[in-house]
Symmetry: D3
Subunit: 66 residues, 6 copies
């Protein structure tokens, strides 16, 4: 019955990629800890690059610099 | 001064229903623990069904199957 | 399949009180939104009063003042 | 390598203000705890006023009353 | 630069198992989304069974029944 | 009425340092967004180094290597 929250920047992850993340992390919890997949909940948050900071700067600014 | 975060799938909860959740959970914390409602904060996150997984699958896929 | 996280200060909530919170918030989601209780997950975090701030001060200091 | 999550109501915070929050909280963690800013992550969530409750009411209703 | 939070009940996960979860979910984000592992943060919360509810009951009670 | 959650590794932050974080981030929200400090909530989570991963490894292992 684990709960997993994955936060990524909103930069075009597809429906298929998000389904793969959900499938993969659920399986990981089965493989490593023997958790029941039926009650394993995964929530993906996609966050605007203006709202995500690393190194004191927004990802919007980091992306422009490159 | 509790903080409550409620995550639900984005499937049409109305403004009135969300107000009821906020009212109800705040009252529950008053009734059970004697918490001060004035500083009780409730945040509701509505999550796309593509971004919510249970049993290793997205809710989008679960809804289609039924 | 909602997920609820309740954060309270660690100030002596009993096992029974925590069970009441879990029962109450699960029922609230059934009553207001018709959610399935079987896959409703509730996690309670109890936080040291040194680690909880309101009004710019820790709860430890607020409790001493009173 | 701290992680900071700031939740505010969605009421017009600008890109510049959000960048200031990210810069400021990252610097605070450097100043107080000597944390490495390069791996300090800050995520800002802007929440609809219908989805934020305090005192048992939504912020939407609180704003109207004033 | 994703951030992943894994919440599990505190029921004896070993240091090695937790390291496997961290390694596995970081690799998953590399494989599915091409994310940079160097800035991928994973936080595991282990929650007392008295503080985790599913189906309106605590896990402590669920475990006793079986 | 913002809510801030700061997650750091449990490596000896003092009561005074945690009070400074709470004071500093509350003031930041006043300065940048004009938020009301009275209803600004800050929660600090201190996480075991076995439970925190970056770059696919636990902080426990990273600390030993240095």
């Amino acid at each position: 019955m684990p709960y997993v929250n994955i936060k990524i920047t909103r930069e075009g992850a597809t429906v298929e990629q998000k389904a793969q993340l959900i499938q993969g992390v659920t399986q990981l919890l089965v493989d490593v800890l023997g958790k029941n997949p039926k009650t394993t909940v995964v929530v993906i948050d996609e966050v605007d690059t203006d709202n995500w900071g690393i190194g004191g700067e927004t990802v919007t600014i980091l992306r422009k610099r490159k």
